[in-house]
Amino acid sequence: MAVDRPRRSAGPSLAALLNQERVFALALIAPLQFLLWFLLIIPTIIVLYLSLVNWQPIMGVDWWQAPFAWLGNYARVLQDRRFWEALLRTAGLVGVSVSLEFLLGLGLALLFRQDFRGKRLLTSVVLYPMMLPWVVVGLVFFLLFLDKGPVNYLIGRLLGADAPFDWYGHSISALGVIVLADVWQWTPFMFLILYSGLGALPKEPQEAALTLGASRWQVFRLVMLPLLRPIVFIAIVIRALEAFKIFDLVFIITRGGPGTATESLSLYLYLLSAVYGQLSYAAAMAVLVLVLVAMLTRVATKPLEQRAIR
Protein backbone atom coordinates (compact mmCIF):
# COMPACT_ATOMS: atom_id res chain seq x y z
CA MET A 1 0.00 0.00 0.00
CA ALA A 2 1.11 3.48 -0.71
CA VAL A 3 1.01 5.23 2.63
CA ASP A 4 3.10 4.40 5.67
CA ARG A 5 1.05 3.51 8.64
CA PRO A 6 1.24 6.31 11.19
CA ARG A 7 3.06 5.21 14.26
CA ARG A 8 1.16 5.91 17.39
CA SER A 9 1.74 4.43 20.78
CA ALA A 10 -1.89 3.69 21.44
CA GLY A 11 -4.46 3.60 18.74
CA PRO A 12 -6.39 1.53 16.26
CA SER A 13 -5.12 -1.93 15.45
CA LEU A 14 -3.32 -2.72 12.23
CA ALA A 15 -6.31 -4.44 10.78
CA ALA A 16 -8.58 -1.53 11.49
CA LEU A 17 -6.17 0.84 9.85
CA LEU A 18 -5.89 -1.29 6.76
CA ASN A 19 -9.58 -1.35 6.63
CA GLN A 20 -9.78 2.37 6.82
CA GLU A 21 -7.45 2.76 3.88
CA ARG A 22 -9.34 0.26 1.84
CA VAL A 23 -12.66 1.80 2.69
CA PHE A 24 -11.32 5.15 1.66
CA ALA A 25 -10.11 3.90 -1.68
CA LEU A 26 -13.32 2.07 -2.30
CA ALA A 27 -15.39 5.08 -1.41
CA LEU A 28 -13.43 7.19 -3.82
CA ILE A 29 -13.81 4.90 -6.71
CA ALA A 30 -17.37 3.87 -5.98
CA PRO A 31 -19.16 6.57 -7.97
CA LEU A 32 -17.15 5.82 -11.07
CA GLN A 33 -17.62 2.10 -10.66
CA PHE A 34 -21.33 2.65 -10.26
CA LEU A 35 -21.50 4.71 -13.40
CA LEU A 36 -19.43 2.20 -15.30
CA TRP A 37 -21.70 -0.60 -14.30
CA PHE A 38 -24.81 1.39 -14.88
CA LEU A 39 -23.85 2.79 -18.24
CA LEU A 40 -21.38 0.38 -19.67
CA ILE A 41 -21.34 -3.06 -18.24
CA ILE A 42 -25.03 -3.68 -17.80
CA PRO A 43 -25.86 -2.15 -21.15
CA THR A 44 -23.26 -4.40 -22.75
CA ILE A 45 -24.92 -7.40 -21.22
CA ILE A 46 -28.29 -6.17 -22.36
CA VAL A 47 -27.01 -5.57 -25.84
CA LEU A 48 -25.68 -9.08 -26.01
CA TYR A 49 -28.98 -10.40 -24.82
CA LEU A 50 -30.95 -8.27 -27.22
CA SER A 51 -28.86 -9.42 -30.11
CA LEU A 52 -29.74 -12.98 -29.34
CA VAL A 53 -33.48 -12.43 -29.21
CA ASN A 54 -36.06 -11.00 -31.51
CA TRP A 55 -37.52 -7.93 -29.97
CA GLN A 56 -39.03 -4.73 -31.16
CA PRO A 57 -40.88 -2.29 -28.93
CA ILE A 58 -43.93 -2.38 -31.14
CA MET A 59 -44.35 -6.04 -30.44
CA GLY A 60 -45.96 -5.08 -27.23
CA VAL A 61 -44.26 -7.58 -24.99
CA ASP A 62 -41.66 -6.84 -22.38
CA TRP A 63 -38.16 -7.29 -23.60
CA TRP A 64 -37.26 -10.06 -21.30
CA GLN A 65 -40.05 -12.15 -22.67
CA ALA A 66 -39.01 -11.91 -26.25
CA PRO A 67 -38.42 -15.10 -28.21
CA PHE A 68 -34.88 -16.26 -28.75
CA ALA A 69 -33.38 -15.99 -32.16
CA TRP A 70 -29.83 -17.00 -31.27
CA LEU A 71 -27.52 -16.15 -34.11
CA GLY A 72 -30.27 -15.31 -36.54
CA ASN A 73 -29.79 -11.57 -36.21
CA TYR A 74 -26.09 -11.87 -36.79
CA ALA A 75 -26.65 -13.83 -39.94
CA ARG A 76 -29.00 -11.17 -41.17
CA VAL A 77 -26.46 -8.48 -40.49
CA LEU A 78 -23.77 -10.25 -42.41
CA GLN A 79 -26.07 -10.57 -45.37
CA ASP A 80 -27.24 -7.00 -45.17
CA ARG A 81 -25.93 -5.15 -48.13
CA ARG A 82 -26.69 -1.80 -46.61
CA PHE A 83 -24.57 -2.75 -43.63
CA TRP A 84 -21.55 -3.62 -45.73
CA GLU A 85 -21.93 -0.49 -47.77
CA ALA A 86 -22.10 1.64 -44.63
CA LEU A 87 -19.11 -0.16 -43.17
CA LEU A 88 -16.95 0.24 -46.24
CA ARG A 89 -18.10 3.77 -46.76
CA THR A 90 -17.23 4.69 -43.18
CA ALA A 91 -13.84 3.01 -43.50
CA GLY A 92 -13.23 4.95 -46.68
CA LEU A 93 -14.23 8.20 -45.03
CA VAL A 94 -11.90 7.51 -42.17
CA GLY A 95 -9.04 6.60 -44.46
CA VAL A 96 -9.32 9.69 -46.59
CA SER A 97 -10.00 12.09 -43.75
CA VAL A 98 -7.26 10.91 -41.45
CA SER A 99 -4.69 10.81 -44.24
CA LEU A 100 -5.50 14.36 -45.25
CA GLU A 101 -5.48 15.50 -41.65
CA PHE A 102 -2.09 13.93 -41.14
CA LEU A 103 -0.53 15.49 -44.20
CA LEU A 104 -1.97 18.92 -43.59
CA GLY A 105 -1.20 18.73 -39.89
CA LEU A 106 2.37 17.79 -40.67
CA GLY A 107 2.66 20.65 -43.10
CA LEU A 108 1.38 23.09 -40.52
CA ALA A 109 3.68 21.68 -37.85
CA LEU A 110 6.67 22.13 -40.11
CA LEU A 111 5.54 25.63 -40.92
CA PHE A 112 5.35 26.49 -37.26
CA ARG A 113 8.84 25.28 -36.50
CA GLN A 114 10.24 28.59 -37.63
CA ASP A 115 9.09 31.87 -36.32
CA PHE A 116 7.09 34.18 -38.46
CA ARG A 117 5.01 37.27 -37.99
CA GLY A 118 1.75 36.62 -36.22
CA LYS A 119 2.65 33.10 -35.21
CA ARG A 120 1.07 33.36 -31.83
CA LEU A 121 -2.13 34.71 -33.24
CA LEU A 122 -2.29 32.03 -35.86
CA THR A 123 -1.80 29.40 -33.20
CA SER A 124 -4.96 30.52 -31.41
CA VAL A 125 -6.84 30.68 -34.66
CA VAL A 126 -5.73 27.23 -35.72
CA LEU A 127 -6.94 25.56 -32.57
CA TYR A 128 -10.52 26.68 -32.41
CA PRO A 129 -12.18 24.45 -35.06
CA MET A 130 -11.73 21.56 -32.66
CA MET A 131 -13.82 23.32 -30.07
CA LEU A 132 -16.89 23.83 -32.18
CA PRO A 133 -19.79 21.46 -31.77
CA TRP A 134 -19.79 18.91 -34.57
CA VAL A 135 -23.30 19.89 -35.52
CA VAL A 136 -22.23 23.48 -35.99
CA VAL A 137 -19.32 22.42 -38.16
CA GLY A 138 -21.78 20.45 -40.22
CA LEU A 139 -24.05 23.42 -40.49
CA VAL A 140 -21.21 25.75 -41.43
CA PHE A 141 -20.10 23.55 -44.27
CA PHE A 142 -23.65 22.87 -45.34
CA LEU A 143 -24.11 26.58 -45.82
CA LEU A 144 -20.86 26.91 -47.71
CA PHE A 145 -21.73 24.37 -50.32
CA LEU A 146 -25.25 25.45 -51.08
CA ASP A 147 -26.28 25.83 -54.71
CA LYS A 148 -25.93 29.56 -54.56
CA GLY A 149 -23.27 29.47 -51.91
CA PRO A 150 -19.78 30.99 -51.91
CA VAL A 151 -17.99 27.84 -53.02
CA ASN A 152 -20.01 27.50 -56.19
CA TYR A 153 -19.55 31.19 -56.72
CA LEU A 154 -15.78 30.99 -56.44
CA ILE A 155 -15.63 27.99 -58.72
CA GLY A 156 -17.77 29.85 -61.19
CA ARG A 157 -15.37 32.77 -61.11
CA LEU A 158 -12.42 30.47 -61.67
CA LEU A 159 -14.02 28.63 -64.53
CA GLY A 160 -15.46 31.75 -66.02
CA ALA A 161 -18.97 30.38 -66.04
CA ASP A 162 -21.68 29.99 -63.49
CA ALA A 163 -21.59 26.52 -62.06
CA PRO A 164 -24.44 25.89 -59.65
CA PHE A 165 -23.26 22.45 -58.78
CA ASP A 166 -25.54 20.46 -56.56
CA TRP A 167 -23.03 19.16 -54.06
CA TYR A 168 -25.59 17.25 -52.10
CA GLY A 169 -27.18 15.57 -55.02
CA HIS A 170 -24.29 13.29 -55.88
CA SER A 171 -22.80 10.75 -53.56
CA ILE A 172 -19.17 11.53 -54.29
CA SER A 173 -19.49 15.26 -53.84
CA ALA A 174 -21.65 14.87 -50.75
CA LEU A 175 -19.03 12.59 -49.24
CA GLY A 176 -16.48 15.15 -50.27
CA VAL A 177 -18.19 17.86 -48.29
CA ILE A 178 -18.31 15.61 -45.26
CA VAL A 179 -14.64 14.75 -45.59
CA LEU A 180 -13.80 18.40 -45.99
CA ALA A 181 -15.73 19.31 -42.86
CA ASP A 182 -14.00 16.61 -40.86
CA VAL A 183 -10.58 17.58 -42.14
CA TRP A 184 -11.27 21.22 -41.42
CA GLN A 185 -12.21 20.44 -37.87
CA TRP A 186 -9.55 17.92 -36.95
CA THR A 187 -6.41 18.91 -38.78
CA PRO A 188 -5.57 21.16 -35.81
CA PHE A 189 -5.52 18.05 -33.64
CA MET A 190 -2.91 16.39 -35.82
CA PHE A 191 -1.05 19.64 -36.00
CA LEU A 192 -0.85 19.91 -32.23
CA ILE A 193 0.38 16.39 -31.73
CA LEU A 194 2.91 16.55 -34.51
CA TYR A 195 4.12 19.96 -33.47
CA SER A 196 4.73 18.89 -29.88
CA GLY A 197 6.28 15.71 -31.12
CA LEU A 198 8.65 17.52 -33.41
CA GLY A 199 9.57 19.91 -30.67
CA ALA A 200 10.36 17.09 -28.32
CA LEU A 201 12.78 15.44 -30.68
CA PRO A 202 16.38 15.62 -29.55
CA LYS A 203 18.24 18.36 -31.31
CA GLU A 204 21.70 16.88 -31.43
CA PRO A 205 21.11 14.08 -33.91
CA GLN A 206 19.59 16.67 -36.23
CA GLU A 207 22.67 18.85 -35.87
CA ALA A 208 24.88 15.81 -36.35
CA ALA A 209 23.06 14.98 -39.56
CA LEU A 210 23.60 18.52 -40.78
CA THR A 211 27.30 18.38 -40.15
CA LEU A 212 27.42 15.08 -41.99
CA GLY A 213 26.19 16.83 -45.06
CA ALA A 214 22.44 16.17 -45.02
CA SER A 215 20.17 18.83 -46.43
CA ARG A 216 17.35 20.09 -44.21
CA TRP A 217 14.91 17.94 -46.11
CA GLN A 218 17.11 14.89 -45.64
CA VAL A 219 17.40 15.61 -41.95
CA PHE A 220 13.64 15.69 -41.73
CA ARG A 221 13.09 12.55 -43.73
CA LEU A 222 15.92 10.42 -42.39
CA VAL A 223 16.33 11.54 -38.81
CA MET A 224 13.19 13.22 -37.57
CA LEU A 225 10.37 11.32 -39.20
CA PRO A 226 11.56 7.88 -38.06
CA LEU A 227 11.77 9.09 -34.48
CA LEU A 228 8.35 10.60 -34.80
CA ARG A 229 6.80 7.36 -35.78
CA PRO A 230 5.37 6.25 -32.39
CA ILE A 231 3.67 9.57 -31.85
CA VAL A 232 2.33 9.69 -35.37
CA PHE A 233 1.02 6.23 -34.85
CA ILE A 234 -0.87 7.06 -31.69
CA ALA A 235 -2.29 10.20 -33.19
CA ILE A 236 -3.54 8.36 -36.22
CA VAL A 237 -5.05 5.54 -34.21
CA ILE A 238 -6.85 7.92 -31.87
CA ARG A 239 -8.16 10.02 -34.67
CA ALA A 240 -9.19 7.05 -36.75
CA LEU A 241 -11.16 5.55 -33.88
CA GLU A 242 -12.97 8.82 -33.36
CA ALA A 243 -13.60 9.29 -37.06
CA PHE A 244 -15.09 5.85 -37.30
CA LYS A 245 -17.91 6.98 -35.07
CA ILE A 246 -18.85 9.78 -37.43
CA PHE A 247 -22.46 10.72 -37.05
CA ASP A 248 -23.09 14.39 -36.38
CA LEU A 249 -21.57 15.65 -39.59
CA VAL A 250 -23.41 13.17 -41.76
CA PHE A 251 -26.69 13.81 -40.00
CA ILE A 252 -26.55 17.55 -40.42
CA ILE A 253 -25.06 17.82 -43.86
CA THR A 254 -26.84 15.12 -45.79
CA ARG A 255 -28.92 13.05 -43.41
CA GLY A 256 -27.30 10.10 -45.10
CA GLY A 257 -28.46 11.12 -48.52
CA PRO A 258 -28.87 11.22 -51.36
CA GLY A 259 -30.68 8.03 -50.53
CA THR A 260 -28.21 6.13 -48.46
CA ALA A 261 -25.19 7.30 -50.39
CA THR A 262 -23.47 8.97 -47.48
CA GLU A 263 -24.79 6.83 -44.69
CA SER A 264 -22.17 6.13 -42.08
CA LEU A 265 -22.24 3.10 -39.84
CA SER A 266 -23.36 5.08 -36.84
CA LEU A 267 -26.13 6.67 -38.83
CA TYR A 268 -27.43 3.33 -40.00
CA LEU A 269 -27.37 2.03 -36.44
CA TYR A 270 -29.17 5.13 -35.28
CA LEU A 271 -31.88 4.71 -37.87
CA LEU A 272 -32.30 1.06 -37.05
CA SER A 273 -32.62 1.61 -33.34
CA ALA A 274 -34.13 5.01 -32.76
CA VAL A 275 -36.23 5.37 -35.89
CA TYR A 276 -37.19 1.93 -37.17
CA GLY A 277 -37.25 0.40 -33.73
CA GLN A 278 -35.49 -2.78 -34.75
CA LEU A 279 -33.61 -3.00 -31.55
CA SER A 280 -32.54 -6.60 -31.68
CA TYR A 281 -31.21 -6.30 -35.17
CA ALA A 282 -29.42 -3.09 -34.26
CA ALA A 283 -28.03 -4.77 -31.18
CA ALA A 284 -26.52 -7.56 -33.22
CA MET A 285 -25.00 -5.09 -35.61
CA ALA A 286 -23.67 -3.02 -32.73
CA VAL A 287 -22.01 -6.06 -31.20
CA LEU A 288 -20.37 -6.90 -34.49
CA VAL A 289 -19.12 -3.36 -34.80
CA LEU A 290 -17.80 -3.39 -31.23
CA VAL A 291 -15.93 -6.59 -31.87
CA LEU A 292 -14.54 -5.20 -35.09
CA VAL A 293 -13.34 -2.01 -33.44
CA ALA A 294 -11.80 -3.91 -30.56
CA MET A 295 -9.95 -6.21 -32.94
CA LEU A 296 -8.70 -3.37 -35.08
CA THR A 297 -7.51 -1.47 -32.04
CA ARG A 298 -5.65 -4.49 -30.81
CA VAL A 299 -4.00 -4.98 -34.15
CA ALA A 300 -3.14 -1.33 -34.39
CA THR A 301 -1.63 -0.99 -30.94
CA LYS A 302 0.29 -4.22 -30.82
CA PRO A 303 3.37 -2.71 -32.48
CA LEU A 304 3.29 -0.04 -29.80
CA GLU A 305 3.29 -2.55 -27.02
CA GLN A 306 6.24 -4.33 -28.50
CA ARG A 307 8.16 -1.15 -28.81
CA ALA A 308 7.45 -0.27 -25.23
CA ILE A 309 8.80 -3.59 -24.08
CA ARG A 310 11.94 -3.14 -26.09
Binding site: I29, L50, G118, M130, G138, V140, L143, F251
Partner: protein
Protein backbone atom coordinates in the same frame (compact mmCIF):
# COMPACT_ATOMS: atom_id res chain seq x y z
CA UNK B 1 16.27 32.99 -47.70
CA UNK B 2 14.00 35.91 -47.68
CA UNK B 3 11.82 34.40 -50.35
CA UNK B 4 11.33 31.46 -48.05
CA UNK B 5 10.26 33.68 -45.20
CA UNK B 6 7.76 35.47 -47.41
CA UNK B 7 6.44 32.20 -48.71
CA UNK B 8 6.07 30.93 -45.20
CA UNK B 9 4.09 33.97 -44.24
CA UNK B 10 1.85 33.57 -47.23
CA UNK B 11 1.07 29.99 -46.43
CA UNK B 12 0.32 30.98 -42.86
CA UNK B 13 -2.04 33.62 -44.10
CA UNK B 14 -3.71 31.15 -46.40
CA UNK B 15 -4.12 28.67 -43.55
CA UNK B 16 -5.65 31.35 -41.37
CA UNK B 17 -8.08 32.29 -44.12
CA UNK B 18 -9.15 28.72 -44.71
CA UNK B 19 -9.73 28.26 -41.03
CA UNK B 20 -11.59 31.45 -40.42
CA UNK B 21 -13.66 31.94 -43.53
CA UNK B 22 -16.22 29.17 -43.12
CA UNK B 23 -17.29 30.49 -39.77
CA UNK B 24 -17.09 34.07 -40.92
CA UNK B 25 -19.44 33.16 -43.73
CA UNK B 26 -21.90 31.65 -41.27
CA UNK B 27 -21.62 34.73 -39.15
CA UNK B 28 -22.37 36.80 -42.19
CA UNK B 29 -25.51 34.87 -43.03
CA UNK B 30 -26.68 35.18 -39.46
CA UNK B 31 -26.87 38.90 -39.88
CA UNK B 32 -28.52 38.90 -43.27
CA UNK B 33 -32.21 39.43 -44.05
CA UNK B 34 -33.96 36.59 -45.90
CA UNK B 35 -33.57 38.00 -49.36
CA UNK B 36 -29.80 38.05 -48.99
CA UNK B 37 -29.36 34.50 -47.80
CA UNK B 38 -28.93 32.95 -51.19
CA UNK B 39 -28.36 36.12 -53.15
CA UNK B 40 -26.08 35.56 -56.09
CA UNK B 41 -23.29 36.61 -56.30
CA UNK B 42 -22.81 36.10 -52.57
CA UNK B 43 -21.43 38.96 -50.58
CA UNK B 44 -19.47 38.73 -47.40
CA UNK B 45 -20.81 41.88 -45.80
CA UNK B 46 -24.61 42.06 -45.58
CA UNK B 47 -26.19 45.00 -47.32
CA UNK B 48 -28.78 45.38 -44.66
CA UNK B 49 -27.48 43.79 -41.50
CA UNK B 50 -30.21 42.74 -39.15
CA UNK B 51 -30.67 41.05 -35.84
CA UNK B 52 -33.90 39.45 -36.97
CA UNK B 53 -32.43 35.97 -37.22
CA UNK B 54 -31.35 36.08 -33.65
CA UNK B 55 -34.70 37.38 -32.66
CA UNK B 56 -36.35 34.41 -34.26
CA UNK B 57 -34.27 32.15 -32.09
CA UNK B 58 -35.58 33.54 -28.91
CA UNK B 59 -38.94 34.63 -30.25
CA UNK B 60 -38.44 38.16 -29.17
CA UNK B 61 -39.18 41.45 -30.81
CA UNK B 62 -41.88 42.19 -33.36
CA UNK B 63 -40.96 40.38 -36.50
CA UNK B 64 -42.79 41.12 -39.69
CA UNK B 65 -43.28 39.50 -43.02
CA UNK B 66 -41.10 36.55 -43.87
CA UNK B 67 -39.52 36.66 -40.50
CA UNK B 68 -42.87 36.42 -38.81
CA UNK B 69 -43.53 33.35 -40.84
CA UNK B 70 -40.24 31.87 -39.74
CA UNK B 71 -40.94 32.67 -36.17
CA UNK B 72 -44.16 30.78 -36.37
CA UNK B 73 -42.64 27.67 -37.82
CA UNK B 74 -39.46 27.75 -35.85
CA UNK B 75 -39.58 26.86 -32.25
CA UNK B 76 -37.94 28.95 -29.64
CA UNK B 77 -34.55 27.82 -28.65
CA UNK B 78 -35.01 28.96 -25.12
CA UNK B 79 -35.84 25.54 -23.84
CA UNK B 80 -32.90 23.96 -25.57
CA UNK B 81 -30.68 26.64 -24.19
CA UNK B 82 -31.96 26.18 -20.73
CA UNK B 83 -31.51 22.46 -20.95
CA UNK B 84 -27.99 22.69 -22.21
CA UNK B 85 -27.12 25.28 -19.62
CA UNK B 86 -28.29 22.92 -16.95
CA UNK B 87 -27.19 19.58 -18.29
CA UNK B 88 -23.73 20.42 -19.53
CA UNK B 89 -22.36 22.19 -16.45
CA UNK B 90 -23.94 19.75 -14.02
CA UNK B 91 -22.64 16.73 -15.88
CA UNK B 92 -19.26 18.38 -16.22
CA UNK B 93 -18.86 19.14 -12.57
CA UNK B 94 -20.12 15.71 -11.60
CA UNK B 95 -17.86 13.95 -14.07
CA UNK B 96 -14.84 15.92 -13.00
CA UNK B 97 -15.49 15.36 -9.32
CA UNK B 98 -16.05 11.64 -9.79
CA UNK B 99 -13.05 11.47 -12.04
CA UNK B 100 -10.92 13.28 -9.49
CA UNK B 101 -11.85 10.93 -6.70
CA UNK B 102 -11.35 7.90 -8.84
CA UNK B 103 -8.05 9.22 -10.17
CA UNK B 104 -6.80 9.62 -6.64
CA UNK B 105 -7.85 6.12 -5.74
CA UNK B 106 -6.17 4.71 -8.81
CA UNK B 107 -3.02 6.73 -8.39
CA UNK B 108 -2.47 6.18 -4.70
CA UNK B 109 -4.00 2.80 -4.13
CA UNK B 110 -3.99 1.18 -7.50
CA UNK B 111 -7.73 0.76 -7.12
CA UNK B 112 -9.51 -1.17 -9.78
CA UNK B 113 -6.45 -3.13 -10.76
CA UNK B 114 -3.57 -2.32 -13.07
CA UNK B 115 -5.63 -2.29 -16.22
CA UNK B 116 -8.29 0.02 -14.93
CA UNK B 117 -7.23 3.28 -16.59
CA UNK B 118 -6.84 1.57 -19.91
CA UNK B 119 -10.16 -0.17 -19.72
CA UNK B 120 -12.02 2.99 -18.89
CA UNK B 121 -10.48 4.61 -21.89
CA UNK B 122 -12.16 2.01 -24.05
CA UNK B 123 -15.46 3.69 -23.29
CA UNK B 124 -14.42 6.36 -25.69
CA UNK B 125 -13.39 3.95 -28.36
CA UNK B 126 -16.74 2.43 -29.09
CA UNK B 127 -19.49 4.19 -31.00
CA UNK B 128 -21.90 5.66 -28.47
CA UNK B 129 -24.78 4.34 -30.52
CA UNK B 130 -23.76 0.88 -29.42
CA UNK B 131 -24.46 1.83 -25.85
CA UNK B 132 -27.51 3.84 -26.76
CA UNK B 133 -29.36 0.76 -27.93
CA UNK B 134 -29.49 -1.07 -24.63
CA UNK B 135 -29.76 2.20 -22.76
CA UNK B 136 -32.95 2.89 -24.66
CA UNK B 137 -34.45 -0.23 -23.22
CA UNK B 138 -32.99 0.37 -19.84
CA UNK B 139 -33.94 3.99 -19.52
CA UNK B 140 -37.44 3.31 -20.66
CA UNK B 141 -37.85 1.01 -17.73
CA UNK B 142 -36.46 3.60 -15.38
CA UNK B 143 -38.55 6.28 -17.02
CA UNK B 144 -35.52 8.36 -17.80
CA UNK B 145 -36.17 8.94 -21.50
CA UNK B 146 -36.46 12.56 -22.47
CA UNK B 147 -35.45 13.75 -19.04
CA UNK B 148 -32.68 16.04 -18.02
CA UNK B 149 -31.61 13.65 -15.32
CA UNK B 150 -31.22 10.88 -17.84
CA UNK B 151 -28.94 12.95 -20.00
CA UNK B 152 -26.96 14.18 -17.05
CA UNK B 153 -26.40 10.61 -15.95
CA UNK B 154 -25.26 9.53 -19.36
CA UNK B 155 -22.98 12.45 -19.93
CA UNK B 156 -21.45 12.09 -16.52
CA UNK B 157 -20.87 8.41 -17.07
CA UNK B 158 -19.24 8.80 -20.44
CA UNK B 159 -16.99 11.66 -19.50
CA UNK B 160 -16.01 10.68 -15.98
CA UNK B 161 -13.59 8.16 -17.38
CA UNK B 162 -12.07 10.81 -19.57
CA UNK B 163 -11.59 13.17 -16.67
CA UNK B 164 -9.99 10.37 -14.66
CA UNK B 165 -7.51 9.85 -17.43
CA UNK B 166 -6.69 13.53 -17.55
CA UNK B 167 -6.40 14.14 -13.84
CA UNK B 168 -4.53 11.00 -12.92
CA UNK B 169 -1.37 12.25 -14.54
CA UNK B 170 -1.46 15.34 -12.42
CA UNK B 171 -2.05 13.43 -9.22
CA UNK B 172 0.83 11.13 -10.04
CA UNK B 173 2.96 14.22 -10.12
CA UNK B 174 2.14 15.22 -6.55
CA UNK B 175 4.84 13.82 -4.26
CA UNK B 176 3.41 11.37 -1.79
CA UNK B 177 5.53 12.39 1.10
CA UNK B 178 3.66 15.64 1.44
CA UNK B 179 0.46 13.72 1.94
CA UNK B 180 2.13 11.24 4.23
CA UNK B 181 3.47 14.03 6.38
CA UNK B 182 -0.01 15.41 6.77
CA UNK B 183 -1.35 11.98 7.62
CA UNK B 184 1.30 11.55 10.27
CA UNK B 185 0.22 14.87 11.70
CA UNK B 186 -3.16 13.37 12.26
CA UNK B 187 -5.17 14.64 9.35
CA UNK B 188 -7.87 12.35 8.05
CA UNK B 189 -7.54 11.00 4.56
CA UNK B 190 -10.42 13.06 3.32
CA UNK B 191 -8.83 16.14 4.69
CA UNK B 192 -5.57 15.39 2.99
CA UNK B 193 -7.41 14.86 -0.26
CA UNK B 194 -9.17 18.17 -0.17
CA UNK B 195 -6.68 20.47 1.46
CA UNK B 196 -3.42 19.15 0.11
CA UNK B 197 -3.82 17.19 -3.09
CA UNK B 198 -6.66 19.15 -4.62
CA UNK B 199 -4.96 22.54 -4.60
CA UNK B 200 -1.87 21.04 -6.15
CA UNK B 201 -3.71 19.65 -9.14
CA UNK B 202 -5.83 22.71 -9.70
CA UNK B 203 -4.48 23.09 -13.19
CA UNK B 204 -5.38 19.57 -14.16
CA UNK B 205 -8.86 19.90 -12.74
CA UNK B 206 -9.45 23.14 -14.56
CA UNK B 207 -8.28 21.56 -17.77
CA UNK B 208 -10.54 18.57 -17.22
CA UNK B 209 -13.49 20.83 -16.46
CA UNK B 210 -13.06 22.79 -19.64
CA UNK B 211 -12.52 19.77 -21.83
CA UNK B 212 -15.38 17.80 -20.41
CA UNK B 213 -17.58 20.85 -20.73
CA UNK B 214 -16.79 21.04 -24.41
CA UNK B 215 -17.56 17.36 -24.80
CA UNK B 216 -20.85 17.63 -22.96
CA UNK B 217 -22.03 20.81 -24.55
CA UNK B 218 -21.43 19.53 -28.05
CA UNK B 219 -22.70 15.99 -27.60
CA UNK B 220 -25.31 15.19 -30.18
CA UNK B 221 -26.08 11.54 -30.80
CA UNK B 222 -27.19 10.56 -27.33
CA UNK B 223 -29.15 13.76 -26.92
CA UNK B 224 -30.87 13.10 -30.21
CA UNK B 225 -31.83 9.58 -29.27
CA UNK B 226 -32.88 10.29 -25.76
CA UNK B 227 -34.77 13.53 -26.03
CA UNK B 228 -37.91 14.41 -27.86
CA UNK B 229 -39.70 17.34 -26.34
CA UNK B 230 -38.49 18.08 -22.89
CA UNK B 231 -34.82 17.43 -22.74
CA UNK B 232 -33.76 18.88 -26.08
CA UNK B 233 -30.27 20.27 -26.01
CA UNK B 234 -28.69 22.90 -28.18
CA UNK B 235 -27.03 20.54 -30.67
CA UNK B 236 -30.34 18.76 -31.16
CA UNK B 237 -31.99 22.11 -31.64
CA UNK B 238 -29.50 22.91 -34.35
CA UNK B 239 -30.48 19.75 -36.15
CA UNK B 240 -34.16 20.63 -35.82
CA UNK B 241 -33.51 23.94 -37.43
CA UNK B 242 -31.46 22.39 -40.17
CA UNK B 243 -34.26 19.95 -40.91
CA UNK B 244 -37.63 21.30 -39.99
CA UNK B 245 -37.06 24.93 -40.72
CA UNK B 246 -35.91 23.97 -44.19
CA UNK B 247 -34.34 26.78 -46.06
CA UNK B 248 -34.35 29.33 -43.30
CA UNK B 249 -30.64 29.69 -43.39
CA UNK B 250 -30.54 32.91 -41.41
CA UNK B 251 -31.81 31.54 -38.14
CA UNK B 252 -29.85 28.35 -38.72
CA UNK B 253 -26.67 30.34 -38.96
CA UNK B 254 -27.62 32.45 -35.98
CA UNK B 255 -28.26 29.35 -33.90
CA UNK B 256 -24.97 27.87 -34.98
CA UNK B 257 -23.14 30.95 -33.83
CA UNK B 258 -24.95 31.12 -30.55
CA UNK B 259 -24.44 27.42 -29.92
CA UNK B 260 -20.72 27.80 -30.38
CA UNK B 261 -20.11 30.71 -28.09
CA UNK B 262 -19.81 28.84 -24.80
CA UNK B 263 -17.36 26.29 -26.13
CA UNK B 264 -15.29 28.83 -27.97
CA UNK B 265 -15.12 30.69 -24.70
CA UNK B 266 -14.02 27.52 -22.95
CA UNK B 267 -11.49 26.93 -25.69
CA UNK B 268 -10.12 30.39 -25.27
CA UNK B 269 -9.75 29.83 -21.56
CA UNK B 270 -7.93 26.62 -22.20
CA UNK B 271 -5.48 28.30 -24.49
CA UNK B 272 -4.93 31.28 -22.37
CA UNK B 273 -4.25 29.57 -19.10
CA UNK B 274 -3.72 25.96 -19.71
CA UNK B 275 -1.84 25.38 -22.92
CA UNK B 276 0.71 23.37 -21.06
CA UNK B 277 -1.90 21.16 -19.45
CA UNK B 278 -3.53 20.67 -22.81
CA UNK B 279 -0.49 19.37 -24.63
CA UNK B 280 0.58 17.41 -21.60
CA UNK B 281 -2.65 15.48 -21.48
CA UNK B 282 -2.86 15.13 -25.19
CA UNK B 283 0.62 13.93 -25.91
CA UNK B 284 0.68 11.57 -22.99
Amino acid sequence: MRILAALRWLIALFAAAVILLPVVWTLSISFKPPREWVAYPPRLIPEEPTLANYQVLFQVGNPVGAIAEMTRSAESVSRAFLNSLIIAPVATVAATAIGFFAAYAVSRYGAGGPLFPLSVLTTRMFPPIAFAIPLLVYFRMLDLIDTRLGLVLMYTGFTAAFSLWMIKGFIDGVPRHIEEAALLDGASRWRVLFTITLPMVKGGIAAALLFVFILNWTEFLLALVFSSRHATTIPVQVSHYAGAVGRFYGPQAALGIVASLPVVGAGYLIQRHLVRAFTFGLVK
